[in-house]
Structure formats: structure tokens, C-alpha cells
């Protein structure tokens, strides 16, 4: 159960080696929660390091072999993870951000992006929704992006995937409302992580820790849509209405 102050007893991280997912673990520890952490990621040294980091934080950890691209394996995997226990908070934290210029020109690359950034989130989202309905409670956190709010030339393969998953999870939240479930869609701006390493940060960039804090408070307050930083909401609601002719000239 998530208690009245937003402290869960279990935390299921899909894409468990991501900087944001691990920052969420740290944030929960900081607010005094002691959840069991289930790290779903591809096996390997990165996952081992992530699991060790969670153990070092004093939490019990389990690892699960998870390949976002292998959607056929998802039903069995999530059924196993949810067997005999409640999943209080599930975080959909995986995604790819490759080289955008090659992504829109390379068929295989574009398809891989679409599969991991849209298809796989839908795949796990449906299954997590089933778990929440059975439990009668539970929060699902979807890490979306401002890139999906208004898709732009500079990263439209990534942005279109995020736009799709963002819409799916907002809808899933509506569908699960009557079942006691809660979906928190998080739209960060540029986050300094492994995924964005070497890229020039955009204005209003944030750290994984800031995103994690927003995730924890969104779960506690049952907020459905959260921008990180909060000011991004105002910026994007302006950008949303900029005419295309002008938009394409903006340095975004």
C-alpha cells in the first residue's frame, strides 16, 4: 500500500538502470520510505551496479530480466512480478534517444525507436493496468517528455513516440480512476542523464533528482500530469500555439 503520506511498500522500475529510476529510489529513501525495489532491465553489469546501489541505500532489491523491445515476453514477466504481492508504484522509465538525424532516415533505427518509445510502453501499460485493476489500488508513473507536447523538427522521431505514450498513459489514468488506480504522467524538459550525455542542454534543464522529487510528490498527491520544472508548463502552453512558420525558425 501507498500510505497517506505517499510512502509505498513496493517500487517496480521498468528500465531500472535509468538515472531517473534510480533517483526515484534515492528520493523515496530520503522521505523515509523503505520499499521493496524490483529492477526490471537487461541483465549485465549496468543492472548489477544499479541493484548494488539500491542495496547500498538499505533497501531490499530483486532483479528481473526485461527487454522493452521483446513485447511478447511482457505478459509473462509482469504476471510473475505481480504474483503474490502488490505493486504499489510502477515506473515506466525506459526509452531511447539516438542520433535524431540518422533516426528519421534509417528505417531500422526509426522502427526501433517507435517500438521502444511507444509500442513497449503501451505493452507494459496494458499489463500494469490489469495489475492495478486486480489490486484495487496502485500508481503507474509514465516518464514522458516535453518533446511529445509539440513535436519539433530537431527530434521528431523521439518526440512522436513520447507524444503517443503520453496520450496513452493520460487515457489509461482516466480508465483506471474508477478502479482505484492512479497514473502520473511526468513531462520533464531536458534532463542531465546518461541518455542526454554530450548534448547541449536546453533552457530550463533539470537533474534526475528534480524529476525524482516530482515523481514522488505526484504519486503522493495523485497528480495526473506534472511538468518538470513547473515553469515548463507555461513555456509549452505558449509554444503550442506558435504558428508553424514561426515555430520552425525557433532555436528549439
Amino acid at each position: 500500500m501507498i500510505n497517506a503520506l505517499g510512502q509505498p511498500q513496493s517500487l517496480f522500475l521498468l528500465g531500472g538502470t535509468s538515472d531517473i529510476a534510480l533517483a526515484v529510489v534515492d528520493r523515496y529513501v530520503a522521505i523515509g520510505a523503505r520499499p521493496l525495489v524490483i529492477l526490471a532491465a537487461r541483465p549485465g553489469p549496468r543492472r548489477e551496479a544499479a541493484a548494488q546501489r539500491v542495496r547500498d541505500a538499505g533497501l531490499e532489491v530483486e532483479t528481473v530480466d526485461f527487454d522493452a523491445d521483446d513485447v511478447e515476453s511482457h505478459p509473462g514477466l509482469i504476471a510473475d512480478v505481480a504474483k503474490g504481492r502488490d505493486l504499489d508504484v510502477s515506473v515506466v522509465a525506459f526509452g531511447v534517444l539516438g542520433d535524431e538525424e540518422s533516426a528519421w532516415q534509417d528505417h531500422a533505427e526509426a522502427v526501433r525507436h517507435a517500438r521502444i518509445n511507444y509500442l513497449a510502453p503501451v505493452s507494459v501499460g496494458v499489463l500494469l493496468g490489469e495489475v492495478v485493476r486486480r489490486q484495487g489500488h496502485g500508481a503507474i508513473v509514465a516518464l514522458s517528455s516535453v518533446a511529445g507536447e509539440r513535436v519539433r523538427r530537431s527530434n521528431f522521431v523521439y518526440g512522436s513516440g513520447k507524444a503517443g505514450m503520453d496520450g496513452f498513459y493520460l487515457g489509461l489514468g482516466e480508465a483506471l480512476r474508477d478502479h482505484g488506480g492512479h497514473v502520473a504522467v511526468i513531462r520533464p524538459g531536458f534532463v542531465h542523464t546518461k541518455m542526454t550525455e554530450g548534448r547541449a542542454p536546453a533552457p530550463l534543464s533539470v537533474s534526475p533528482e528534480q524529476v525524482a522529487e516530482a515523481v514522488v510528490e505526484a504519486v503522493a498527491d495523485r497528480r495526473e500530469l506534472t511538468w518538470v520544472p513547473g515553469a515548463m508548463r507555461i513555456v509549452m502552453s505558449g509554444l503550442r500555439h506558435v504558428p508553424r512558420k514561426v515555430f520552425r525558425r525557433l532555436p528549439v
Binding site: M1, N3, A4, L5, Q7, Q9, I31, G32, D86, H137
Partner: protein, 348 residues
């Protein structure tokens, strides 16, 4: 002549089954004990659908009392009621300048009064730490209210209704400070034998329908603990922590408990109990965890009826007979037909 419930909590909106399942207490606990002690027997539907009648001489009665509803569904109960001459209360009220004086007053003279409770201003600090209004009451005799026109025992409906949406600042430190100041000042320095009705004395919040909505969208958490007499210092420490943290609380209520009973999960024990309502705020998590540690160190415990945030580990440090309860529950309901969010969170 009439009858009154032997134990009433701070609200009329409770059921008899709930009162047993939480083994509730009232302002008379120091003399009368908790609700289950006044129940002769109860009818319980178990997980297999059959109904049993349980008396106080059975273990299952005491698993059900304070058992948080996990042993089954209570369909009826036989209560011993308290005979009263009138539906009015005779109330003594006094202002008390600090916590030390308050606890001395209550220790010395609570036993002379059937009902006794103190409201504490948790925002007052320094020398005024724990300044409070102490109220004691008795059921008024026919003699006392001879010249008074008597209305019904209970008003039919709440007199006020809270607005459906309240802004987050409505219950904040400055507004609570003003409210608490007014509450303290409007209380008489010392008044004896004021005649009031039952709702005014026992259920003041019931007069405002939907009062919980005043806390806005984030809501509030209730926190109530008891520490034994030997843990008096822990009570002082917690009141100080609340004042230092500055979390606004309108209704901090201090009361003395008499001895507890046989029920393994029953809350009351001889000593002091404090109940606070705190608006939800991120800082509460660490504050309440600290208070938990003070309570555990003083061999005290939290009230499960009000709890919405405790973890299983801390619970077992607070209830030494928890395993006895769990074993009883496994026997009564091996397939866990009766579950609740509380049971899931606390692994009951």
C-alpha cells in the same frame, strides 16, 4: 430518565460494529475503559458465512475487539448502557497556562470527573508550551436542570456545512495561530457547572458537515498515540516537537487513560494519549517518523483507527502482542477473506 452509550468518541458518525472493531475510547476512559468492555456479547459472521455469538469469556471476542474488522462482520451486539437523568451535561472549564500545570491538574483530579479532556494549543511555545483548555463533565441531574427548557437530546442535522473546495492556505500556520489564540481566550479562566447539550460536549465537529474538506485537496492525517505514565517526558517532548515544527493543528487533544483490556490490538493503556490532526505536508513524513521513535522508546503505541501511514516494523515494536493477534487471525480466517488496506500495509 434515559440511557446513554457507555463510551462515545468525538463524533456521532460511528457504527456499533466499528466501535467494537476499533475498541474505541471516550473522554471517560480513565474510569470506564473502552467500548468493548461494555459489550456483553456480539454476533459475528465469519469467513465461512456462519454467524457465531461471542461473549467476553471467549478469545475470539477479544480478537474482534480492536481487531480492525479483520475477524468478520459484526451484525449485532448487546451493550450495557449508562442510565442518565437528563440529556444535558454539566461542564467545568478552565484555562491552563502550560503543559506541566495541565498534566499535574489532570493527574490530581481527573478521577473526580466522569469525563475529562484537554485541548492543547500546539503552536504555543516557550513558557506557554502546552497552554490549554481543560474541560470536565458529568451527566446533569434532573435537579440541576430543573429550570431549563429541554430540547431533543441530539440535533437532527449539522448546523453548518463546509464549502466543497477550500484553498490550501485555509488551514495554515498563521490562520491556525489566530484560531488557537481566539479559542484559548474565549475559554473562561474557570467556570463550573455550565449546562450544555450532548453534541456541544462530545461531538463539536459534527456541527460542521464535511469539516474535513476544510483541509483542501491534500487533506490531513490524524496521529494519536499513548505513552504509559512512566513515559510522561515523551509526551512533553512530542508536544515540544510539534510546537517547534510549527505544523498547524487545530485540535490537539490530551487525555488520561485508565488500564487497557485483554484485546491484543486494543489501543488504550494506563497513561497519556494525545490526538492531533495535521494538514498533509511533505515535511510530515520525517516529523511523524521521529515522533514514532519517541513513542516506541517510551513503550507507547499508535491508535490504528486513526493511522494511515505506519509500517509493519514499527507496529510490532508498539504492540507486543501483535503475533498473538496474527496467530488468532490465521486460525479464524486462514484464507484471508477479510482484507483491508490497513491490513495490507501493516501485514496484519
Amino acid at each position: 430518565m434515559g440511557y446513554f452509550v457507555p463510551v462515545t468518541p468525538g463524533t456521532r458518525y460511528v457504527s456499533v460494529g466499528g466501535a467494537i472493531a476499533c475498541d474505541i475510547h471516550g473522554k471517560n476512559h480513565h474510569l470506564s475503559g473502552s467500548f468493548a468492555q461494555h459489550v456483553e456479547s456480539l454476533d459475528l459472521i465469519g469467513p465461512d458465512g456462519t454467524t457465531r455469538t461471542l461473549g467476553q469469556d471467549t478469545d475470539d471476542f477479544w480478537l474482534t475487539a480492536g481487531g480492525m474488522g479483520l475477524t468478520g462482520i459484526i451484525t449485532s451486539a448487546v451493550l450495557r448502557l449508562t442510565p442518565v437523568e437528563t440529556s444535558l451535561m454539566s461542564v467545568d472549564t478552565e484555562r491552563v497556562p502550560d503543559l506541566h500545570t495541565l498534566m499535574r491538574r489532570m493527574r490530581e483530579s481527573d478521577d473526580d470527573h466522569t469525563y475529562s479532556v484537554a485541548w492543547i494549543d500546539t503552536l504555543a511555545s516557550g513558557r506557554a508550551l502546552g497552554r490549554s483548555v481543560l474541560t470536565r463533565g458529568e451527566h446533569a441531574s434532573a435537579q440541576q436542570v430543573r429550570h431549563r427548557r429541554r430540547g431533543g437530546a441530539l440535533p437532527a442535522e449539522p448546523r453548518l456545512t463546509a464549502p466543497p473546495y477550500a484553498p490550501g492556505w485555509l488551514i495554515s500556520r498563521p490562520t491556525t495561530k489566530v484560531f488557537n489564540e481566539m479559542w484559548f481566550r474565549k475559554a473562561p479562566a474557570h467556570r463550573v457547572g455550565e449546562i450544555t447539550d450532548i453534541p456541544a460536549f462530545f461531538h463539536p465537529l459534527d456541527g460542521v458537515a464535511g469539516w474535513n474538506r476544510l483541509y483542501g485537496r491534500r487533506g490531513f492525517v490524524q496521529y494519536q498515540f499513548v505513552v504509559p505514565d512512566a513515559g510522561e517526558q515523551a509526551m512533553v517532548e512530542i508536544v515540544r516537537r510539534l510546537a517547534d515544527a510549527g505544523h498547524p493543528s487545530f485540535l490537539a487533544v490530551l487525555k488520561r487513560f485508565g488500564p487497557g483490556n485483554r484485546a491484543p490490538l486494543s489501543f488504550p493503556m494506563s497513561g497519556w494519549t494525545l490526538a492531533v490532526d495535521l494538514p498533509t505536508h511533505p515535511g510530515l513524513r520525517t516529523l511523524l517518523a521521529e515522533l514514532d521513535r519517541i513513542v516506541v522508546a517510551a513503550a507507547g503505541r499508535l491508535y490504528l483507527a486513526k493511522d494511515s501511514r505506519l509500517d509493519a516494523e514499527t507496529l510490532s515494536a508498539m504492540y507486543p502482542r501483535l503475533d498473538e493477534f496474527r496467530a488468532g487471525l490465521r486460525r479464524l480466517d486462514p484464507d484471508r477473506v477479510f482484507r483491508s488496506d490497513l491490513a495490507r500495509r501493516l501485514d496484519l
